[in-house]
Amino acid sequence: MSKLIIGGREFDSRLFVGTGKFRSNELMEEAIKASGTQMVTVAMKRIDMDNREDDMLRHVAHEGIQLLPNTSGVRDAQEAVLAAQLAREAFGTNFIKLEIHPDPKYLLPDPVETLKATEELAKLGFVVLPYIQADPVLCKRLEEAGAATVMPLAAPIGSNKGLVTRELLKIIIAQSRVPVVVDAGLGAPSHAAEAMELGADAVLVNTAIAVAGDPVRMARAFAQATIAGREAFEAGLGGVSDYAEASSPLTSFLD
């Protein structure tokens, strides 16, 4: 399987894993290990002065793992830039998952602010992975603005609906000169495999693993599906036809 390169770093695994919603940090750590992922997201929060909780970072900051801090919680480009600078200082990485989604019901990303922030952050030397609507035109604009990848959504965050945006993802993948990471809404390993078969360079999965009955086994299942989908894409899938195409000789050998 070919390697994925983002921000000058090589990734063997094409499955990125989010750390939200796990029942415990220990379970999250086990699931991350089982997934074989090399890219793990973290969010940021102001430390509560009256309640200093357990630091989750020690459960994810392992050798071979690239931390991908996200900007979740920011409302516009200006806040996103500050969040990225804080992340760089706190975690020592210039990778940033740019997400600006002011609407709490659907968590759909704001394309205008995301483009503005991408331009700014790319100039500041960040490796910007913007989370966006599956909009082929926006993806090209982000690429021109210096985004390291584009991360179009399959379906709303946490919805587990799969590739709702399938046709648009196909256009994005066909046009993109930066890696395409399908993010959000992948609810089952088959969804991840489908995204990879379409030619996505990677998938990012969180909820479907975290809320599974057994997150460790589900992480493994997503890992296998991601590999299978990529292998199928690189092998070259057969064409689709409306009619039967015989796979056995049709000679009437019993006559």
């Binding site: 973290v42 430390i47 600078q85």
Partner: protein, 67 residues
């Protein structure tokens, strides 16, 4: 003198020389953490050089779980 750390008003003890001393006194290590003063990031290397002012708005963040 009072400053605001993460939306909480904190009375700064007399003799607290700079941002580094204040953060130490408040139990912040800087490991896996980052600090902004009035919405500008102050790198850890600059904490000693950063003086304190009344009403200063200090933000200290750390990692939490998220996708």
């Amino acid at each position: 003198m009072k400053v605001i750390i993460n939306n909480k008003e904190i009375e700064v003890e007399a003799g607290t020389a700079n941002l580094a001393a204040l953060l130490r006194a408040q139990g912040f290590t800087g490991v896996g953490q980052a600090v902004a003063v009035n919405n500008r990031v102050v790198p850890k290397a600059d904490w000693e050089a950063c003086g304190l002012e009344d009403g200063m708005k200090i933000t200290v963040i750390r990692a939490v779980c998220g996708g």
